[in-house]
């Protein structure tokens, strides 16, 4: 559950003034909570109150105006003894998640690029346990390895969408957290795509892009962490098991390609361009580059006719050797802050061989 700290703190203060009897925070689980002028202590009090009330997992939203960024590390340190803590910024607020207060994460075997993601996945874990109820047209599929089970609820009409994915039997909190991330990546895609790509999507969702990769070469689920390899195998066994029940042969051709979000598609072309130009300006400012170092020329459609190909150009003063990395960094930034399916392309160059036909 998500609790708005600013709102509750304000209500509490108001009710101190206006409520003579039965004064309390708005939620039963916070009946022992008292805010504090220091928001770090106020949030600590809130978590302790929730634990007293038996609430295992809690998410608290607090505005950055109330709790500035320079105090986030202090908050994390203060809350760490109480359970698995994760912090993430979301639209001018900080969301603090404290999950599974009974267990602590041992991150010793987790590469540094995955630590933050695993913490977050553990704090937000919601796919452990049995599947939700199956609809009449759904089928339950399970796969097991070393007493770890992954279960899928699959629609029975092509493309066999995975409606829900759950895990059980994870042997330690890290494994459970990673399997949860794999389950999240497997949902709402065709079963074949879940089997083919959910594990690598989970890996990329867990990774800190700016941190060094866990291996010097190509990162794959199996070499990033054993739990990712386990999740990948369980999904593939689940797919095979589904096919054996359905009586079909293995469908190998998977062309599932997640479309852009509705919010992006519903924007006008000018609004899309404006949003990208605005975000690019912020990127350039953070990279300490001139505002015209990278120009956004236009947005083109991809092969699905989705407006996701962003054409860019560089100012003359940008050194040639910097351009490829800048493009990849800007693309990652735009994917994170505007729309995940955006792709960057540079202005193409025409063939200089004049005798050729194009």
């Amino acid at each position: 559950m998500m609790i708005d700290y600013d709102e509750l703190a304000s209500q509490f203060e108001q009710s101190l003034l206006h409520t003579l009897r039965g004064h309390a925070a708005g939620l039963e689980l916070l009946e022992t909570w008292v805010p504090d002028d220091d928001p770090v202590r106020g949030i600590l009090n809130m978590v302790e109150a929730a634990q007293l009330a038996g609430q295992r997992a809690i998410e608290i939203r607090v505005s950055l105006a109330t709790l500035p960024i320079d105090r986030h590390g202090e908050l994390e340190d203060v809350l760490a003894p109480l359970g698995a803590v994760s912090l993430r910024r979301d639209n001018g607020s900080l969301v603090v998640a404290i999950g599974d207060t009974e267990a602590k994460l041992d991150l010793a075997g987790v590469s540094p690029d995955l630590v933050g993601g695993v913490r977050r996945a553990f704090a937000e874990m919601k796919r452990e346990g049995p599947l939700p109820g199956a609809g009449a047209a759904d089928m339950e599929v399970s796969a097991e390895e070393d007493a770890v089970t992954l279960s899928l609820l699959v629609g029975q009409a092509a493309p066999y969408p995975v409606r829900a994915a759950r895990h059980r039997g994870g042997r330690d909190p890290v494994e459970r957290a990673i399997l949860d991330a794999v389950c999240a990546a497997a949902e709402d895609v065709p079963l074949l795509d879940a089997a083919d790509h959910a594990a690598i999507r989970a890996l990329h969702a867990l990774r800190d892009r700016l941190a060094a990769r866990p291996v010097p070469g190509i990162v794959q689920p199996g070499n990033a962490h054993p739990a990712l390899g386990l999740g990948e195998r369980l999904l593939r066994h689940g797919h095979a098991s589904f096919l054996s029940v359905q009586g079909g042969t293995a469908e190998r051709y998977n062309d599932h390609d997640a479309p852009p979000g509705d919010a992006w598609l519903e924007l006008s072309s000018d609004a899309r361009l404006g949003r990208i130009i605005d975000r690019t300006a912020k990127f350039l400012a953070q990279a300490e580059l001139g505002g015209d170092s990278i120009g956004i020329e236009e947005i083109q459609n991809d092969l699905h006719h989705h407006p996701v190909r962003v054409m860019v150009s560089f100012a003359d003063e940008v050194e040639p050797e910097r351009k490829p990395r800048l493009m990849r960094q800007l693309e990652a930034w735009l994917k994170e802050t505007v729309e995940p399916t955006l792709q960057l392309y540079h202005e193409p160059q025409k063939d200089q061989n004049r005798i050729r036909r194009l």
Binding site: A195, D196, H197, I200, R201, H204, R213, P214, V215, P216, G217, I218, V219, Q220, G222, N223, R233, R236, A250, R252, Y253, N254, D255, D257, D302, L303, H304, P320, E321, K323, P324, R325, M327, R328, E331, K335, Q343, L344, Y345, H346, E347, P348, Q349, K350, D351, Q352, N353, I355, R356, R357, L358
Partner: protein
């Protein structure tokens, strides 16, 4: 694969030899940095031909001049890090580079397998005497069986047809005289509209007697800029079988069926092949593959061998950032790159391996020819 080449210890012209590099595959799977087995490159982007089908038209990027010294440094770096084969094909006509002959001989001295795809026009007897002993294969691009259509399809004067035919005869004569191991072949890049030339070319080959004639598809970019109509290949399957039937003991006509039948579709989304099979433009640009040479794909460009040593480019974070991007979920080979690339069979095989559909295992028996060219 053509029935004329059913044993894997013969030439594999339609497939991949990556199974014979299981150690390298396992190292790749563990996340180690592996050297490419094969690098395909050109010594220049210039060309004296203007072939109607040429993908190089779509590959323009900022050109630099690859000198003899640049190539010597490059070849030394390749030998040092474990590259096995260098093919001079890519996006230009390497034989018109002043560095061509020295590149072949120096590469051979360093223990690299050297090969070339060329229009064959400037390869006179003197040059052939010098390079053929140092080569694994030499392949002549030749997409027509009569001089008029040759001129039209290859974008040259009609009499160039006979010059190249003479050069092929010379190649075979040198090979026989000196009992050389080099494989000499002809290659037809087939767009469906060249169907009228399939049988004339197969018959011409039977007269010229190279080791093989291979007939392959034409690649196109993701937007179909070259205008290849993949649906029309099926209409000429009978012609292609008829061409293959002209094979004899010493001359094989091989159709790359797997790619022609696949058409424009890829079965995979992740691109795993480039770390094993890299491409370099005739501009010196190091990119994962030829589909990504154009400035349009700048985010994938890793460096230029005219500016820095290849071993440093290969060891750089930039190179491995790009390779990881291609192998990651943000890249979709089905929608973000052209059709039937050089790495396609390697990609298919690695994808099936990663998904557990067909794990790579070293086949029993003798290794095929041209093992350095996967």
């Amino acid at each position: 694969m053509s029935s004329a080449l059913s044993e894997h210890n013969e030439l594999i012209l339609d497939g991949t030899k990556i199974a014979w590099y299981q150690d390298r595959v396992e190292a790749w799977e563990r996340g180690e940095r592996i050297a490419p087995v094969t690098i395909d490159m050109a010594l220049t982007r210039a060309c004296n031909y203007a072939c109607h089908f040429c993908y190089a038209m779509l590959q323009e990027n900022d050109r630099k001049v690859i000198t003899r010294q640049v190539m010597f440094d490059f070849l030394e770096d390749c030998a040092e890090i474990g590259v096995k084969g260098i093919s001079l094909v890519s996006d230009g006509e390497s034989t018109i580079s002043p560095a061509f002959v020295d590149t072949i001989t120096r590469g051979h001295e360093l223990g690299l397998s050297m090969a070339c795809g060329t229009n064959g026009f400037v390869l006179n007897q003197r040059k052939l005497e010098e390079i053929l002993p140092a080569m694994t294969y030499l392949r002549i691009n030749f997409s027509a069986g009569d001089s008029g259509r040759y001129a039209e399809i290859m974008g040259v004067k009609e009499h160039w047809f006979e010059r190249v035919c003479d050069n092929i005869r010379t190649m075979m004569e040198i090979k026989r005289r000196n009992n050389l191991s080099v494989t000499i072949g002809m290659q037809m890049v087939l767009m469906p509209e060249y169907a009228d030339q399939v049988l004339p070319l197969a018959r011409l080959g039977k007269e010229l007697r190279p080791d093989y004639l291979v007939i392959k598809h034409c690649s196109d970019d993701e937007d179909g800029s070259l205008g290849v109509d993949y649906d029309k290949y099926e209409q000429i399957y009978d012609l292609l079988h008829e061409a293959e039937a002209l094979s004899d003991d010493d001359y094989k006509v091989v159709v790359k069926w797997s790619k022609i039948e696949t058409g424009a579709k890829r079965s995979y989304q992740r691109c795993y092949g480039p770390p094993f099979m890299l491409q370099i433009s005739g501009s010196g640009l190091v990119a994962p593959c030829g589909m990504l040479f154009n400035e349009r794909y700048k985010k994938f460009h890793c460096g230029n061998i005219c500016d820095e040593r290849f071993r440093d480019i290969w060891a750089s974070d930039a190179y491995w950032d790009v390779m990881n991007y291609l192998a990651g979920p943000e890249f979709n080979a089905q929608t973000m790159c052209g059709t039937l690339c050089l790495q396609h069979k390697v990609n298919e095989t690695l994808d099936a391996h990663v998904k557990g559909h067909a794990r790579i295992a070293t086949p029993n028996g003798a290794a095929p020819q041209h093992l350095s060219f996967i």
